[in-house]
Amino acid sequence: MTKLKSTSELEKLRKKIISEKDPKKRCIAVCSGTGCLASGSKHLSEVFQEELKKYKLSGKMEIRKTGCHGFCEKGPIVLIYPDEICYLKVKATDVSDIISQTIKEGKIVDRLLYTDPNTGKKIAKEYEIPFYKNQNRLIFGNNSKIDPTSIEDYLALGGYTALAKTLFKFKPEQVIEEVKKAELRGRGGGGFPAGKKWESTRKASGEPKYIIVNCDEGDPGAFMDRSLMEGNPHLVLEGLIIGGYAIGSHEGFIYVRQEYPLAVENTELAIKKAEELGLLGKNILGSGFDFTISIHRGAGAFVSGESSALMSAIEGKVGEPRSKYVHTSAKGLWDKPSNLNNVETFANVPIIINKGAEWFRKIGTEGSKGTKIFSLVGKVNNTGLVEVPMGTTLRQIIYDIGGGIPKEKKFKAVQTGGPSGGCLPEKFLDFPVDFDELYKAGSMMGSGGMIVMDEDTCMVDLAKYFTNFLADESCGKCVPCREGLRHMLKILEDITAGKATKEHVAHLEELSEVVRDASLCALGQSAPNPVLSTLRYFRDEYDAHIRGECPAKVCKNLIAYYIDPERCQGCGLCRKNCPTNAIRGETKTVHVINQEKCIKCNTCFDVCPKNFRAVSKLSGKPVPTLVNDGTPIKPLKR
C-alpha cells in the first residue's frame, strides 16, 4: 500500500473502496467478538466458507468476521446484509439451511429468529428486536458492520474523515475548544471533562508530551472497552491521534489488560495498517504532524487502571499509584505532561469532530452529554452491551432492553460502577442514569458495568465479594486501604458466618468512612462504596444475618439443606451425587440429609429433578428432624 500524502488522496481511496463494494451484494456478518468466539463462531465462519463453495457461491458473497454485536447472550450471532436479518444462537448445522433458504431463495429460517418472550412473536430484522430497537448506537453501531482487521471497511464508513478535518481545518486549541463545547466527560469512571484535561496537558510545560488510552478495564462485569478495542480499533486510534494533535503530543500508548488477547491482536494490526496508509507515523496525510502509537500489555493488577499507577506500569515498574498533588497532566509518564483517557472517551472524539459539538450536546442530560455503553450482566434476560443516551432510566435499560429478570424472579438491586460503585434498590428504577444522578444516589457511573441482581442474591455476601476483591487488589502502599479493607473483610466474614453482633455492623460502618476519607488513591477512597450502599439500602439484610438468617439463602453457615418428605420420590440422584455420603435412603423411600455430614455444596439442590423440587434451603429456622427409617414415598399429584 502506498502512503496517502493528502486529504484528496484519502478521499480518492475511499471512493475507490466504496465503488468496489456493491451495496446489493449479500454479506454474511458473523460476530467474532470474544463472547461469540467462545460460543463457536470461528468454526461457524469456516463452515459458511465451505458451504458457499458447495453451492458455488464463493466470491458472490462476502463472509465478514465482525466485532462484537453486543447481544452476547444469544451468540453466535449471524447478520445477513443488506436485509439485516438477524439469526441467533447459530450452530454449524444451521449453516446449510441459511444458505439454501435465505441466501438462495430469500426465505427466512424461523427457528433461528429472536422470539419475543412476551408475545411469542418471531422478529427477523435486527433493528426491530427490542434489545437493539431501544438503543442509540452512536459509538458501538459500526461494530457489526466492519471487519476489525480491515481498514478498508472502516474507511468505507467514513473513517479518518475526522482526522483529516482536524489536521487541515482545526488548530489544536480549536479541537480542545470543540471537545470542551461538546462537554465530553471521561467514560472511564470519574467523569472528568475531557476537554479540560486536554487543555491542562497542552498548557503544561515540558516536552515531550504523552497521550495514553486506558484499556485496563479491570472492573469485573464490564467489557465495553474490550469490545470496542476488538471490534472497531480504528475508531479509537483516530480519536487518539486527534487527541495527540490537540495536546501537542507525538507519542501515544494503548495500555491493554492481559486478559484481552484479541484486543491486542486487532489493535496491533490496525496500527500496522494505519502506518502503511500514512495515517500514522511521520507527516500524517502531508500535514506535517507526526504521531506514533505503541501497545503496552498489562500483567494483571486492578490498581494499575488508576492513572498514575498505569503510567508507572508503562515505565516498566510496579503499577502502584502515587499521591496526586501534582497532576499527571503536569508530571506523568517519565515525569512528562501526560494525558490519559478511557477507550470509550477517545471513541467519542471522531464523532464530535465530524458532527460538531452542537449536535453532540443535544444527546443526553444537562450535566452528561452523549451516550454511554453499559455492560448489562448478571440476572437479566438479555445480557450484553447496551448503548443509550445519558439520562435513560434504569427501568428502560433493564426491562425494555434487557428483557427483565429471568425465571420470573423478583428484581432486588442493580450494581453500577464496578467494585467501587454501589448497589441501588428497586426505588431507583425510574432514575435517569448519568454521572451526577448516580453519584447522588450513592453509586457511580464507573466504566459502565451494570450488574443486575434478583432475590437470590445476598447483599451482604455481595459486599463481602467486592471487599474481598479490593482487599486482594490493594497495592498495600497506604495503611487505610491495606489494613482497613482487611478488617472490613474480617467483619463481613463474621456477619455472613452468623458470628457478629450489632456492634460489628457499627464498627464496619465507621471503618468504611475512615477508609473512604484517608486512602491514597481512588481504589481505597471508593472501596467502601459497596458496603456503604448496601448498608444504606439493605440494612435489614445485615440485621437478618445477625439474627442468624440469610434471607437470600446464600451464606453457607446460615443455611441448611432439607429434603421435603412430601415431595421426595426416592430416585436416589441426590444420594448418588453427594460428595460426602451425607444422604441416606433406599430407592423409592424418602431420603434424609445427615446435617452433620453435609458440607452445603448445593449438589443435591442442583441434581434434584425439577418436577420433584424436593430439596430446599432453610435459613433462620430449625431443620425438622427426620429419621431415615425407609418411609415409602408418596407419589406427587400432578
Binding site: 463472547g35 493488577a301 497495592c475
Partner: protein, 152 residues
C-alpha cells in the same frame, strides 16, 4: 527453556521493557524460575529485589511451575451472581487442590481470574485459553475429562 538472550535482544535490553520481557519468557516457559529472574536482573542491571517485586505484584506471573493444563475459573461479578463460587468449589473438589496449586501428577493447575469480560457466558471456566461457558457443578467433571490423561 526460553532463549532469554533472544527475548532480551528483541526488547533492546531496555529496563522499561521488563514487564513485556517477563511476559515473553513466561509465554514460553509457563512460569518464571528463580534463576530466570536472577539472569534478567543481571543482564538488565536492575536490582533483583525490583525484578522480584514486579514479578510478585502482577497476578499473571507465576513463580511456581504450572501443570500441563491451566484451569482458570472466572471470579468476576457476573459469574459470581450466577453461581461461579459453586463451580470453583466443584473444581477444587474434583481436582483435590486449592486455587494456585498444581495436582501432584503436574497435570492440572487451578487458577482464578478477576474477570474475562465474557460475562454473558458466565459462569465461565477457561482451560488452556479455551472458554467453557454457562458452567455448572454438573458440567465440571465432563469438562475436566476432556483434558484428562486417559483421553490422549
Amino acid at each position: 527453556m526460553a532463549n532469554i538472550d533472544n527475548i532480551l535482544k528483541k526488547h533492546g535490553y531496555k529496563k522499561s521493557e521488563l514487564i513485556p520481557i517477563l511476559q515473553d519468557i513466561q509465554a514460553e516457559d509457563r512460569w518464571l524460575p528463580c534463576e530466570t529472574l536472577k539472569y534478567v536482573s543481571e543482564k538488565l542491571d536492575i536490582p533483583l529485589i525490583d525484578v522480584y517485586s514486579l514479578a510478585t505484584f502482577y497476578k499473571s506471573f507465576s513463580l511456581k511451575p504450572r501443570g500441563k493444563h491451566v484451569v482458570t475459573a472466572c471470579c468476576g461479578t457476573a459469574c459470581h451472581v450466577r453461581g461461579g463460587p459453586k463451580v470453583l468449589q466443584e473444581l477444587q473438589n474434583q481436582l483435590h487442590i486449592d486455587v494456585d496449586e498444581t495436582t501432584p501428577d503436574k497435570h492440572f493447575t487451578l487458577e482464578t481470574v478477576r474477570c474475562l469480560g465474557a460475562c454473558a457466558l458466565g459462569p465461565l471456566v477457561v482451560v488452556d485459553g479455551k472458554y467453557h461457558g454457562q458452567m455448572n457443578t454438573k458440567k465440571v467433571a465432563s469438562t475436566l475429562k476432556k483434558y484428562s490423561k486417559k483421553k490422549k
